[in-house]
C-alpha cells in the first residue's frame, strides 16, 4: 500500500520536473524524487540500493546541481516548443512498452526466470564460501569484483574528466 503511494508521488514529482520553469525548483524536485525512489527501493527489499540512492541522488547530485546553478543562473528561458514529433515519439514508445507489460513474469513471483538462474547459487554459497552475511556485498566485491573494478575506473575517469574540463585558461564569450 505504502509502495503504491510512493509510486504515485514519484509520478507527481516527475510531472513537476516536467512543468516547473524555475531551475532551482527543478533541482529541489529532483532531490525529492531521489528520496522517494530510495523509499521505494526499501520497500522492494533493496536496502543497499536505497542507501546509495539516498546518499547520492538526494545528497551529492543535488549539491552538484546547485553548485552548477551558481554558475549558469536559474532561469529556464527556452520557449516550450510543443513540437509534435517528441510527443508522438514518447507516447508511441510508452504505449508499446505498456503493451508488452502483461508478457512480463508476474510481479513478485519466485518462479520468474531471473530468480532461478545464478541468484540462488549466490545466496546459498555466500555464508560458506565468502563467509559474510550480506549477499549484495559478496556479489559486488567478490563474485563480480571485476565489474566493480570497471565501475571504479569509470568514476576515476569522470573525476579526471571534470578536472581536465576546467583546467587551462578559459576564453570569454563576446
Amino acid at each position: 500500500m505504502i509502495g503504491i503511494g510512493l509510486l504515485l508521488f514519484l509520478l507527481l514529482t516527475a510531472t513537476g520536473i516536467l512543468l516547473v520553469r524555475n531551475l532551482f525548483a527543478v533541482v529541489i524536485l529532483s532531490g525529492i524524487y531521489s528520496l522517494l525512489m530510495a523509499g521505494t527501493f526499501t520497500i522492494l527489499d533493496a536496502v543497499d540500493v536505497a542507501f546509495t540512492e539516498a546518499a547520492v541522488g538526494a545528497g551529492i547530485s543535488t549539491v552538484l546541481l546547485l553548485a552548477a546553478l551558481g554558475v549558469v543562473g536559474q532561469e529556464d528561458r527556452g520557449r516550450n516548443r510543443r513540437a509534435l514529433i517528441p510527443i508522438a515519439v514518447v507516447v508511441l514508445a510508452g504505449v508499446m512498452l505498456i503493451y508488452a507489460v502483461p508478457e512480463m513474469p508476474p510481479f513478485g513471483s519466485p518462479e520468474a526466470p531471473i530468480h532461478v538462474h545464478v541468484a540462488p547459487q549466490y545466496i546459498e554459497e555466500t555464508p560458506s564460501v565468502i563467509g559474510i552475511p550480506n549477499v549484495v556485498t559478496a556479489v559486488l566485491a567478490d563474485y563480480r569484483g571485476f565489474d566493480t573494478l570497471g565501475e571504479v575506473t569509470v568514476i576515476f575517469t569522470a573525476g579526471i574528466g571534470v578536472l581536465l574540463l576546467f583546467a587551462g585558461r578559459r576564453r570569454k564569450y563576446k
Binding site: A46, V47, V49, V56, G57, L64, V72, Y122, G159, Y173
Partner: protein, 121 residues
Amino acid sequence: MSVLGNFNYVIAITLSMIGLYVLIERGNLIKKLVGLNVFQSSVFLLYISMGKIDGGTPPIHYEGIAPFSNPLPHVLILTAIVVGVATLSVGLALVIRIRDAYGTIEEDEIQALDAESGGTE
C-alpha cells in the same frame, strides 16, 4: 497477468517516458540533465522491481530468515547509481564550459549563434 498486477512496471515506463520527453523536448541544458536523471532512475526502478519476491526480505543472511529477494539486480543498480552521479558531474562540467563559450545554456540560442558564425552544420 493483468496490467494492474504489474503496477511497478507501468510506473517505471511512465517515469521513463516523462524523463525522455524532458530530455528531448526541453531546451535548457540543466533541465535536460535532470530529465536524464529521471529516465535513469526509472530504469533502476524496473530492475529492482524484477528482483522482488513476494514475502522476501533484504538479502542479508540471518538465522531463520527466508526467502531473500534477488541480490543480483541490487548489485548492478548500486554501481549504476554511483556511475550515474559521475556522468552527471561530467555533464554539468560540459554545460558550464558551453556557457563559457556561448554565454547561454538554451539549446535554440546556441544553434542560432552557431548558424550566425557560419558553423559547420
